[in-house]
Each structure stands twice: as C-alpha cells, then as structure tokens.
Symmetry: C2
Subunit: 369 residues, 2 copies
C-alpha cells in the first residue's frame, strides 16, 4: 500500500473487450497519485509522461512520484496546450524526447492531459519504433468519457482534422474524478457535450438522468460524475467492442462531429473547443434528422435545451453554406464525394447515411449565424 | 484479357500467411503493365500511385494504364528519389496529395519503386485516415526480396533510421522481374546483399546455390532471378508468418543491420545504399559470430567472398568505434541500453543476443578503415 493510497478509491471499473487488446478503465478518486494504480503494467527500463504546460504544474509531479516505484527511469515531455498544436511539429517533440533519452521499444508512454495530449501521445506510441505500450491518464471530462477510450489516435493536417493517425489501444485508462475539480468551466461544459451525446445515439434513459442531474454535474458532485463517466464509458465500450476499427456501428460515436469538425476547421483549430463544436454540431445533426423525417421538433428542442443548460453554444458560426459543405467533404466518413452524417433514426438509435446537399443547406440556414 | 497480358506471365506465387491479413506475392514478367495483375483488390473510387522521379519516367504510365480499368480515378504523387528523402516532409507530400484529391478512406495506395518508396507509401497508408489498403509494386531487387514483404513501414528520424513507423501489411505484392533490367548495377548489387542474407540465417543450400549462380544473377538471367526472388520470399514468408510484429524470431531478418544502420547514419543517409551497408554489416556480424565462438574463420571468409563477388563493399568506413557504438545504441533492437546483434549460432541458424562492448570494438577494429 503506497502512502497516497489511503485517500485513493476506485469506484467503478469498465472493461473494453477486444480480445488480446482488452483493457480496463478505472474510475475513482485519488487514483493518479496512487502507486497501486500503476501496478501490473508492461515492465520497462523507462516510462515517459507526455503532458502539456497547463496540466504539468498541477499533476505531473504526483504522477511521476506514483510511477517511480515501477520504472527505473521516468522521463517527461511537456507540450504546448491546445488543439492548434495537435500537429506534426509537436508530435515530433515527443519523438525527439524519446530518442534523446535513448528510450527503447519497451518504453511505456503515459498520456497525462486532455484529448489533444491523449491523441498525440497515443499516436506517438503507435509509431515510435513501430509501436510501444501507452496508458491514458485523462484530466478532462471530455477525455475521460470519450477520447481516451477506444484507441483512436491522430494529429491534424492543415486540410482536415485527425486525418493522420492510427488505431492503437491503450494498456489501461485511469480516470481520476478529483482532477476535474481544477477544470475550467468552459472545458467542463465541452466535456458534457460528449456525455450528452450518448443519450440520443444509445440510451434515452441516460438522457433523462442527465436532465435531472445536470445541476449536480455542474457543481462537480462526485457521485453524479462517477455515474456519468461510468455510463459514458460503458456505452463507448459496448460500441467499440463491436467495431474496433470503425467499419460500421462505431461511426455513431461521431454524432454531431461532421458539422462540428467543419466549425473547428472553418474557424481555425482551437477557436472553439472540440466539445463546443460537437455540441453545436449535435443540434445541427438533430435538425437534419428531423428534416429527414426521423424525429420530431420536440426531440430537437429537448436536446438543444440540455446543451444550452450545460453551458454550450447551440448556434453555428456564419461560415457560409459553401464553406461548410467544402469542409465536410473531406470528413473521413465521406465516400466517393458524398458527405455522410450520423442521423438519429429514432431517439436512442443512430445510423450513418448520406444526405442531399439541399437539405444540408436548409439545416445550415436554420442553425447558423 | 488485357492487351498487355499476352506477354505477362506469373512464374511463382508465394503466400504470406497472417490470418485475415494474409496476401500473395506474385513473381513473374510483364506483370506491372498487365491489367489482370490488379484484379480482385479492394474496390475504391480512386487509386493513388506513389513513386519517385527516377521510376516515374520508366513505369508510371504502364501501371496507370493497367490500373485504369479497375479504378474510376488514378492519381499519382512523385517523390524525390533516395534514402535522404525518407523523412516527414516527403511523407507529408503524400498526405497533401491524398487530401488535395479528396481521397477517402477506401483509397488504395500503390507503392511503385524501391524500399524507400515502399516504406513511405506503406507508412502513409497506415496513417491516412487511420489506415487505407496498399499494394507493393517493388522495382528494385532489394524491395522484391525484402522490404516490400512483411508489412514493416517507416520513415527516418535525424537520430535514427526507421524510428517512426507502423506494421501495416500490403494487400498484395507484385514482383515484375522485367523491371530489374533497368536497375543500375550498384543498386542490383545492393539487392543481392539482402538475397545473400537468407543463406547464413536460414538456408545454407541456398547460399551454395547463390555461389554457383552468381554469374547468371549478375547477368540478370530471368530463370536465376525467378528462383532467387522466390526462395528469398519463401524464407521471409516463413519467418514473418511466425512473428509478424517482431516479438522474437523475426529479428533474424536484421542480420547485418545493426552495423549497417550505423554505417548509413554515420555517413549520412544516402551516402551508402542500404544494401551496401547491410552487406558490409553482415561481414561485421559474421566476424562477431566468430569471435563469440559460433562459426569458424572459413565461414566468415566464404560469406565475405560472396559479397565481394556480388560487387559489394566488405570493409566499413572509419567512423571511430565510439561513434559506431553510440549509433548502435539507438537501434530498435537495443533494450535497457544494451546493443543486441543478430549472430550466426551455426551456419544457417541465427539468434538475437547482446555482445560485450570490448568484443564489438575488436570487430570494428578488424572490419573498418
């Protein structure tokens, strides 16, 4: 038992079931600084913590201390914060650090941060010496409920978001709810967008729970957070377990993301947070679902109201319909030039399908500006 | 039957057995320009041929024409030739071309060229939208017998060769022996180094066959080439089929490569051809095997004589022992700071093991300068 473990407590454990690539998600409090959280991982001469300049002052030393009993050497690399830095130059800073320290191909990478750190550290782990193990230590709500789970890693290209990446599953995900205390309100709301997402695509009871418990979540109540993170991870685990490499059903996790990515790219990455763009994108995708005849106006309004109450923008920026369409045509789900969207077929059930440009233009007219 | 197929002939087919990632290697003449060679591949709205500025004038149009019946669009990207360009900037030119043409995640990449083109096109295919299919169309002897087979893809980092990459198996490998006619003698010899490699690590009968048939190979006799390429691919298939991700036995394919990579990096990538460095590295690794007590001086001399007769350098450049050791310590096979070498345990049998620095220094003193 480590000194810190008196205050550490694992509330829930969710398993991602992918055969020999299976791994657990631990959800609890005080886990990050607890040595016991890091037992049983692949052994190596060195660990490398990848983090950013916002998270490092808060949690880097606690994690390093907790890792020290497990690895002879614990190195670190501190990246600049933000989506704007999710590029090759920043990724290369990780490779430089690994090579400078003579890290071999058993080295274990620890991604300490939000979705950007997780995506970059994960992609670095996928490529360094053709693949080393890595562990996700998500410090934002968005990363805990979405991006740290499922093995998608990537960097952005000037012509499109997450265009260059790999599927590379982590060895473990550790969600410490205590670190959410220091998350700025804007980032917390952005994370709620991805939590809310799981309702319309998979579980309307969870949507109702979120409506009832939104005040508790916004107050960062630990019980409410533990349930929201667990249920989100359970749904993601269920989807990813069926379709690891997004040949089919996994695409539903991208509800709101086609419109959202266009907002992010159109404004320049980093102007809106990813979760903000996705929240707004879900309003647009719900509107599209209504115009395609699948859901009624009350459903769209209910989702919009919850997102608004969560502190999220619900109207898209005025990029112009042509620019939106141009940006959406490079989406990874596009095929043979057709943009494809996740639409809600019925509340709690989503599907990937193309939509006529004319209807998409109507949606843009109704939901932007 | 395509117009070109009258002259096309598949001499041998070797299968790489990796479960759902299995694929065939076709070895023959006239295959590149034959439409039938490209039947049965994954369907897509577009194919993208990745090649270089030396190969493009010779074979790009023939391949494009043969692909045209199978894909509505056939794009191309022509990279600068040479190991010195196996870097991120050149890789990014492939991503730029894919995104500029609006290529989706079904796009099939065709690597038309030698090992550098194959490694880069393969790594681009591994990463573009987290993975698209690709086909190897190797145009050098080295690529036909080694680098195009087995799914290793990578780019170089200033601090080490092939440090950033992925395991990504091709959907097919097509070795057209006719294209070897245009290969410059220096590159042909470099390819022979990787052919010769299969003797000491796996098949001394093949080494004897090579000794007898070297004049025919150097004259680019088709029968001799067909046998050499087939036997090389069979041995590689046998090794890779046991150990796709180099957890164990696959490392023996790196015989000569630890010393060889140090030569390449120490002189600057591109100064010596990869095969030249590997050929010379095999002499050094054989010398090391002798000093470790596994093989006799006659074995070292026999291998050295064959490499020399194949037109390859057999003495390493004078980088100094300290520099050699420094460069070898970042080799991917190194673990916990120990350099590990492929040594010949007995003629026809290789194994990965560390060696004391003092003995490595003796080898460097005997084999360089």
């Amino acid at each position: 038992m480590s000194p810190a473990s008196a205050t550490a407590h694992e509330w829930h454990r969710v398993r991602i079931d992918l055969g020999e690539r299976s791994y657990p998600i631990s959800i609890g409090t005080g886990l990050l600084g607890d040595t016991d959280s890091w037992a049983g991982l692949p052994r190596a001469a060195a660990a490398m913590v990848v983090t950013n300049d916002v998270v490092a002052p808060l949690y880097l030393e606690a994690l390093r201390s907790a890792l020290a009993p497990h690895y002879p050497q614990v190195h670190q690399v501190v990246l600049p914060d933000g989506e704007a830095h999710k590029d090759w130059a920043t990724l290369n800073a990780i490779f430089d650090a690994l090579l400078r320290h003579g890290c071999d191909r058993k080295t274990v990478l620890f991604a300490l941060g939000g979705g950007v750190v997780g995506d970059m550290a994960g992609f670095a782990a996928a490529c360094y010496m053709r693949g080393v193990p890595f562990v996700q230590v998500p410090t934002t709500l968005l990363a805990q409920v979405d991006s740290s789970v499922g093995g998608k890693t990537a960097i952005n290209h000037p012509l499109g978001k997450n265009m260059i990446g790999a599927f590379h599953q982590p060895a473990r995900v550790v969600c410490d709810l205590a670190v959410l205390d220091t998350l700025p309100p804007r980032e917390f709301s952005a994370g709620l967008a991805e939590v809310i997402k799981y309702g319309p695509i998979a579980d309307m009871d969870f949507l109702s729970w979120l409506e009832r418990n939104l005040p508790a979540l916004l107050a960062r109540d630990r019980d409410a957070l533990a349930h929201a993170v667990r249920r989100s991870c359970e749904i993601k685990a269920w989807v990813v377990g069926q379709d690891e490499r997004e040949g089919g059903v996994r695409a539903i996790l991208n509800f709101g993301h086609t419109f959202g990515h266009a907002i992010e790219a159109g404004l320049g990455f980093g102007e809106w947070l990813h979760g903000e763009a996705v929240g707004c994108g879900m309003v647009m995708a719900a509107e599209l679902s209504q115009r395609l005849g699948h859901v009624d106006a009350a459903f769209v309004e209910r989702l919009t109201a919850l997102l608004r109450a969560a502190g999220l923008p619900v109207r898209g920026p005025s990029l112009g319909a042509d620019r939106y369409l141009e940006l959406m045509r490079v989406d990874k789900k596009a095929e043979g030039g057709d943009i494809r969207f996740i639409v809600i077929e019925a509340p709690g059930r989503a599907v990937l399908r193309p939509a006529p440009d004319a209807i998409v233009r109507d949606v843009l007219a109704a939901c932007t500006g």
